[in-house]
Amino acid sequence: MTALLKVQGLRKTFGGVHAVEDVSFELASGELLAMIGPNGAGKSTCFNMINGQLAPDSGSVALGGREIAGRPPREIWRLGVGRTFQVAATYASMTVVENVQMALLSLHGQLFRLWARAAALHRSEALELLAAVGLGQRADEPCSTLAYGDLKRVELAIALANRPALLLMDEPTAGMAPLERNALMQLTRDLVKERGIGVLFTEHSMDVVFAHADRIMVLARGRLIAEGAPAAIRDDRQVREVYFGSGRLVRTAHAAAPGSAAAGTRAAAGPP
């Protein structure tokens, strides 16, 4: 497989602290790659450098062979990178469908039109995207009245609006109930496999990671300490030490007991 995203020697220092140090990895189209690690390990910093919110001190971020490091987020978006945030970022003063229409208006370069009625533009395309994430019925509700799990779905619809090649998801299931978590990740998985999108996501919920990631990277103190298939990561001694602990208190049984059937959870976690 050719790499969709190729990150090499990424570094960032804040006031003498090495937040990210020499991180390199690749991601292929259609692949779900999880980035895990303790708080403050540099996951968000890594994300923000790929997304363009931060400029790396050094290193390279190539998307489909094109260098994107240091470009502003809105340019990187135009090159085909969608993003969802740890705390869902949507437009509270708009309806659900208007949130998606906004991304489409931006995609079509219509932001500075002063006279047309925005609510009538790209509505059907926006409704299709909402239907894909299961929110077709709620298109005209104010976004501010949606439950948190639904807001995350709106974000996903927005992120898909520019037909991205790469999706960056920062803790996609944070703040959601377990059932919702798995439903959202299953939906994401189906959508990206169908559209051939590469996904890089961070996550604290181990059941989600082991159930849905194709590959896992572990970050600690700004460095990549392990990378590989979920089974290999589970058994990695160093990872257990800095991150998993003894595993006696991890939320669900299959993550607590390494080697148990993660695939079983995935099957059980389909849309209800």
């Binding site: 303790p38 708080n39 991150y243 991890v250």
Partner: protein
């Protein structure tokens, strides 16, 4: 069960015009650790905020150590001996570890363990190594510890501990569990809000399960562990 320390009767609460708690009843005995469980949005944090007086729109009877505290301002509830550790830690990032502790300091109280920075540093050795570090320059796990220590400085009889395991690495979760067990040994009562069943079982005597703002299950922790149907319905996948 030992003497009741905190008793909540018929607690209703609202966010704006949306009602989120419906007649919640709840008790915590002296020296007991009770897990308040339920999914996200079930009303766990809201219950804690309502008890603490941080939510203006509430109704119901809350008695703590024999005194009605519903309707009191948060500072008076705190002075009555009820400590609160918020979900998002809310450390004072500009203040040093010692100064953070100073904000929480209250006079000694009968019937409650007495805390000092020295005793807290013994309980949280990490904090003891960085007394002058600003709160903003600590890791998430250290901030969680500091948030607990700051509340303990008020010498509370009961602590409301809101989702200490949310969003922290599994290895820190284990430390939090050890800490709660230690606090219980010292005679402190704890109302713990939690989604993580293994964590809650490891530290709690009893559980109270919320769903959609209503109490669905009350009983011994062991009873909840055995009741797979209840767990499946109200908690896990």
């Amino acid at each position: 069960m030992s003497a009741t320390l905190l008793s909540v009767r018929g607690l209703d609460a609202w966010y704006g015009r949306a009602q989120v708690l419906y007649g919640v009843d709840l008790e915590v005995g002296d020296g007991e650790v009770v897990a308040l469980m339920g999914r996200n949005g079930a009303g766990k944090s809201t219950t804690m905020k309502a008890i603490m007086g941080l939510l203006a729109a509430r109704r119901g009877e809350i008695v703590f150590a024999g005194e009605r505290i519903d309707g009191m301002a948060p500072y008076r509830i705190s002075r009555a001996g009820l400590g609160y550790v918020p979900e998002d830690r809310r450390i004072f990032t500009d203040l040093t570890v010692l100064e953070n502790l100073e904000v929480g300091r209250r006079p000694l109280r009968a019937g409650a363990p007495a805390w000092s920075p020295e005793r807290l540093f013994a309980l949280f050795p990490n904090l003891g190594r960085m007394p002058q570090r600003p709160g903003g320059r600590m890791s998430g796990g250290e901030q969680q510890m500091l948030s607990v220590a700051r509340t303990l400085m008020g010498n509370p009889r009961l602590v409301l501990l809101d989702e200490p395991s949310e969003g922290v690495a599994p290895v820190i979760v284990e430390q939090m569990a050890d800490m709660i067990v230690e606090l219980k040994k010292q005679g402190l009562s704890v109302l713990l809000s939690e989604q993580n069943v293994p964590f809650a079982s490891a530290v709690s005597d009893r559980a109270c399960v919320l769903e959609k703002g209503q109490v669905r299950f009350v009983g011994a922790m062991a009873q909840l562990e055995a009741d797979e149907a209840a767990r499946r319905e109200y908690l896990e996948v």
